[in-house]
């Protein structure tokens, strides 16, 4: 089996450039949506907790 090559330092950036997300124009926007959705879920948990406490 071939020994895998050593990764280069800017590999993540290169891979990012290779692959565009299927929706929206960049992965940054998709990550932002995931984190915003998560923040909304946490907010809903907070409101749920206080509504029935």
């Amino acid at each position: 089996m071939a020994i895998p090559p050593k990764p280069s330092g800017n590999m993540a950036e290169n891979a990012d450039a290779d692959e565009r997300p299927p929706i929206l124009s960049s992965w940054k926007q998709i990550y932002a949506i995931v984190l915003i959705l998560h923040a909304l879920i946490i907010l809903m948990f907070y409101l749920f907790t206080h509504a029935y406490a």
Binding site: M1, I3, A15, Y31, H38, I41, Y46, F48
Partner: protein, 569 residues
Amino acid sequence: MDFIDWTVMLGTLTAIVAYGVWKTRSVTSVKSYLMGDKDLPWWTIGLSVMATQASAITFLSTPGQAYQSGMDFAQFYIGLPIAMVILCIFVLPIYYRLNIYTAYEYLEGRFDLRTRTLTAILFLIQRGLAAGITIYAPAIILSSILGWPLNNTIFFIGLIVIFYTVFGGTKAVSVTQKQQMIVILTGMFIAAMVVIFKLPPDISFNDALSIAGKSGKLDVISFDFDPSSRYNFWSGILGGTFLFLSYFGTDQSQVQRYLSGKSLSESRLGLLFNGIFKVPMQFLVLFVGILVFVFFQFQQPPIHFNDANLQRFEGTVYEDSLAQLQTQYDLLFEERRSEMQEMLMGIREENPNTIETSKEQLNVLMQREEMLRGQVDSLILHQAPEAQVEDRDYVFITFIMNYLPHGLIGLLLAVIFSAAMSSTSSELNALATTTVIDIYRRSVVKNKSDHHYLNASKGFTLLWGALALFFATTASLFENLIQAVNIIGSLFYGPILGIFAVAFAMKSIGGRAVFLAAGLGEAVVILLFILDKQEVINLEYLWLNPIGCLAVMLFAWLLQPLVGKKVVA
């Protein structure tokens, strides 16, 4: 269980396995067997990742946890979406660019062969033992409730999993997991609906939530920074992110799921799918437990949820003592039910005085109930000192067996068996892949044909399956085996994470330094473990994870100037 339940359960499980076998009938190469032709779309990856993490214990134990302690366990998962985003940005592109089969292959490119081999062996020991427990833990609960012999239940789960995992490899694991997750989510959603419809006619959904809330069961989130509380926002966001980075980034049973994606984009979307839906799914599972709690405020629950423990008393001198406790428990329940109705009236009339008085009264009644249940536990231990009296894991399955209509009992049992099979299949698949790719093909039998390695992969899957069955069937012979496996896992998990943390974050560290650091880090972990056992220090074994990780990072940093050559990042 009647004929309909058997038909639904066996029909569901057979359909899933048959679909998996049919979809993977053309697997003829190692790449296809271990990487699934790298053609999986994001939704299959996402469901597969979720199914790998969700074992049968998740669906047996989590509703029971909510029943007993409320919904704060949801905070354990708060760090997960953040970990998914970090992995998508920094780790997935590296794994994809290197076109690797296992996470440990990356370590050879980054450091050297011995670091890769060491890490792979640590994973094999830890995950090999865990695979047996993944079968044993739900089997002991299901055999007790269904009245099946324990070994039959173990073999029922184990042999089906081994069959389709050996047959179709990683693709069989992923496609069956997709079906299993659909069954699991559908089953849990239907269970939630049924509990709501089973509540007394005068109790609305909003009443049910109010009762749960006033009973302190709906505290989903707490922003209080309290190191002594196990679950709060801060432990979830800090500890959880750290834990899920290590689990999803370095554990081959997860890495293999997303490496079989069609492209980097599909794998990223699969992990992000998990990041978005995992927390709501755990909320649903916990919420089912809350609804069961409300249900048992109006329908008398058993004095002890593991019926097999109560059956031990039949024809013994303790039978009368149990009957007396049961009579007291019946009276107490009636008192509690009427007090609960009082509190409900207070809630509807928005009368804080009535609510507060009823809450205080209910607390007293619940304490008396806990005392009675404790007395039953003591009786059980008198009768059978080896018995497990913790009955939290039996709450949900008791509800399923006693209160769900026929047909749905079969479906919910299919949910639990599906969960057991989905996590076990991932483990067997990852164990075989690591054995073949990181040990057998790399260091033992090199340069053989693709057909040879395909057969070796199938053989190692079978071998690990047999070992898992052996561990599962002998687990009951060893006291506290589950805890022992968890401790063994904690002895290795920290140093493994430390090696990967150095690989990703400390670019100037070379192979020799990290290999020595891993050995020293492992020694520190084992030393601390022994000191704790000798009662020289007091350290819970879960702390060994971060200590092991940080020790490897620290030692690697200190050793690099002494033993290592400068690595060009």
